[in-house]
């Protein structure tokens, strides 16, 4: 949360108003706070977060039942995370691994879908309800409104990821023992160190969603129908995920926003393997820059007729 906000806050006042400092700060935060409150008071947002919170609990219970039967947990069923790292096998030894498993299970679809809904609805939803025209004549300012929407979407990315992680940690602590853990590289780290890694992983997962958030926001400026924007964003997400599986498109894969998503597992190596993590962040930044600019250009020129 804080990272995105503070960098934005630093950038704003210069452009915002050449007048006193106070209006500059108000300019930035008044609308942002209102936007946050409005977003998180929506039933839809709360329902999305509820679903995300339920996933780790279901995974935890499934693993618990399966081990209760006596069969050892292989890499097999229950996870739903595709070819994610085999954290699931370790859950029974250490509940903390439920955090990694849950993030691996939700990152390919549930998390980006939730972000796609929020981002797709950002501008198009306001246009659909007609509230966009009143925000603009308030005047919210088009650039300011767009930045606010993006900052709110990014905040949602962080909150959604933390909801998954927190729910997984709670379920893991209740269902399984906690303690020291073994990294992918085979070294032992303390539980505290493990928690810290879990937080880093959550942040890496949240950062992985920057690209789809920018893409969703851009799509949101193209239409006056919130539903259409959400559906298009989620549709693109699925399409890209499928294309990423087709070997003939190998040359394109490094440019898909989802290609390096599972690189967060490298944070569980000792020493941490940074290459793919950096590639992921670079790619997300590229998507943010390209689609952020496109959204801005489109929104500035848009005739608001709704």
């Amino acid at each position: 949360m804080s990272r995105v906000e503070t960098s934005r806050a630093e950038a704003m006042p210069e452009a915002a108003s050449q007048a006193a400092r106070a209006p500059g700060l108000l300019w930035t935060f008044g609308l942002f706070r209102s936007e946050l409150v409005t977003t998180f008071r929506r039933w839809r947002t709360i329902a999305l977060l509820g679903v995300l919170a339920a996933v780790p609990i279901l995974v935890g219970i499934a693993v618990k039942i399966e081990t209760g039967d006596g069969s050892s947990t292989g890499g097999g069923p229950g996870g739903g995370g595709g070819e994610g790292p085999a954290f699931i096998a370790q859950i029974t030894n250490n509940g903390l691994f439920l955090v990694f498993t849950a993030l691996a299970a939700t990152l390919p679809f549930f998390l980006p879908m939730a972000v796609g809904v929020i981002a797709g609805d950002a501008i198009a939803g306001e246009a659909n309800a007609g509230t966009l025209r009143y925000l603009l004549v308030a005047p919210a300012g088009r650039t300011r409104l767009l930045l606010t929407k993006y900052a709110t979407t990014m905040t949602f990315c962080v909150v959604a990821t933390l909801v998954v992680a927190a729910s997984a940690l709670a379920a893991g602590a209740l269902l399984f023992p906690l303690g020291d853990l073994t990294t992918i590289s085979g070294t032992r780290i303390s539980f505290a160190e493990g928690l810290f890694r879990a937080l880093l992983i959550a942040l890496a997962v949240a950062a992985s969603l920057i690209g789809i958030a920018a893409l969703g926001l851009f799509i949101s400026t193209l239409t006056n129908s919130g539903i259409a924007a959400m559906a298009t964003t989620v549709g693109l997400l699925i399409t890209v995920q499928i294309l990423d599986q087709i070997p003939q498109l190998d040359a394109l894969h490094p440019y898909f926003f989802s290609h390096y998503w599972l690189s967060f597992a490298d944070l569980m190596r000792e020493p941490v393997y940074w290459d793919d993590l950096q590639r992921n962040l670079g790619l997300q930044a590229l998507y943010a820059a390209v689609f952020g600019s496109a959204a801005w250009a489109r929104f500035m020129a848009k005739d608001v007729t709704a």
Binding site: A16, S17, P23, L26, W27, G30, L31, R33, S34, T38, R41, R42, W43, A129, G130, T131, R133, Y134, L135, L136, V137, A138, P139, A140, G141, R144, L145, L222, T223, N224, S225, A228, A301, D303, V304, T305
Partner: protein
């Protein structure tokens, strides 16, 4: 979506001409008397303001509109005549294809950030967040305004709610509001700060007669405080009751504008004779050189109404009356009927006003 699909209906030719028109000289008024556009000067001034949508449809065509400061300005026209497109251009929501628009002495949409905080607007009906209470809706709109002081926000919201009579319903979710209540809340949003200009698009839509009267009283009250009110309405008598000035649009063009009294005077009144001897009266009037004589049969015993175009100013009405009486016509009523704004409107647009529906 609409725009996208509309764009595909072949507008290459029209786009070309529109493109060249964009380069119309953009008068730079940022420097001169920007803030001091006080009394006397125009609050809204457009020059050759034109909007052609991407589909090629010409929504507003060369509009030269002048709204004097301190006036209550009625903006009339049937649906599809370009009123809302004009209002949206004035509010910076739509980019004009060509021409210029100045609001409060500053060019729009370029100076939107400086102009709009001084403008309260109700555009094409209210739009609310249904899941927020009325009060929270206003708090949200107010926080969108960078010039609004957050310390006085709650007090200003409460005052605006009170002004439109919504205090009791302020805590209810907006989706539970009736159309009239939504309309009031929209008005409250326009009144969150003291404004120099209020743009109200059909403000009495959905209100009961009592509500309409309250809104009219509110408009008069605001106007007496010196706020200029730009009011679009399809209710002619509303405009006649409230407005000092008016403009009439039809098919994207401005047909007339000016003080309401002058506009109504523009349409000439009619001569009305009430008599049981309708045929004789009509004959005499024609003999006297009065044109457009129409006989309207009245109720049994009440006598018919004979109307005609009002005689030229140099004719003495008493002479006409005398001629009628001399011819043995039993004149029960004789006089000129003032033209209403509706007559003026019909004369100008050639169509009834209720096209607007």
């Amino acid at each position: 979506m609409e725009e996208l699909s509309a764009g595909s209906t072949g507008s290459a030719g029209s786009n070309g001409s529109a493109g060249s028109a964009v380069s119309a000289p953009d008068k730079d008024t940022d420097t001169d008397e920007a803030a001091g556009g006080g009394a006397g000067s125009a609050v809204i001034a457009t020059r050759a303001l034109t909007k052609r949508y991407r589909g090629g449809q010409l929504a507003v065509d060369g509009l030269d509109l002048t709204v004097p400061a301190g006036s209550v300005f009625g903006f009339l026209g049937p649906n599809g005549s370009g009123k809302t497109t004009t209002i949206r251009m004035l509010m910076g929501l739509i980019e004009p294809t060509s021409g210029t628009a100045q609001v409060l002495g500053r060019p729009m949409p370029r100076a939107a950030k400086a102009v709009l905080p001084q403008v309260g607007a109700l555009i094409e009906g209210p739009a609310l967040y249904g899941f927020l209470s009325g009060r929270d809706n206003l708090l949200r709109y107010d926080s969108a305004d960078p010039t609004a002081d957050p310390r006085t926000r709650r007090a200003r919201v409460a005052a605006a709610l009170d002004r439109v009579g919504l205090t009791a319903a302020a805590g209810k979710k907006a989706k539970a509001y009736s159309l009239g209540m939504k309309q009031r809340l929209g008005l409250a949003a326009a009144l969150l700060q003291s404004r120099r200009l209020l743009v109200l698009d059909e403000p009495t839509n959905g209100l009961d007669p009592q509500g309409m009267r309250e809104i009219r009283a509110l408009v008069r009250e605001l106007a007496s405080d010196g706020t200029t009110v730009f009011l679009s309405s399809h209710l002619l008598d509303e405009i006649e009751q409230v407005c000092s000035h008016a403009a009439v649009m039809a098919q994207g063009r401005l047909i007339a504008q000016g003080p309401v009294s002058e506009l109504a005077a523009g349409a000439r009144g009619r001569l009305v004779v009430t008599t049981p001897d309708a045929a004789d009266a009509a004959r005499v009037l024609k003999e006297q050189g009065i044109g457009d004589v129409v006989v309207e049969e009245g109720a049994e015993g009440a006598g018919a109404r004979v109307t005609a175009e009002s005689p030229p100013p140099d004719r003495d009405l008493a002479e006409l009356n005398a001629a009628l009486v001399t011819a043995g016509v039993r004149v029960r009523g004789f006089g000129l009927e003032q033209a209403s704004l509706e007559d003026a409107f019909v004369a100008l647009t050639g169509e009834g006003f209720d096209v607007a529906g």
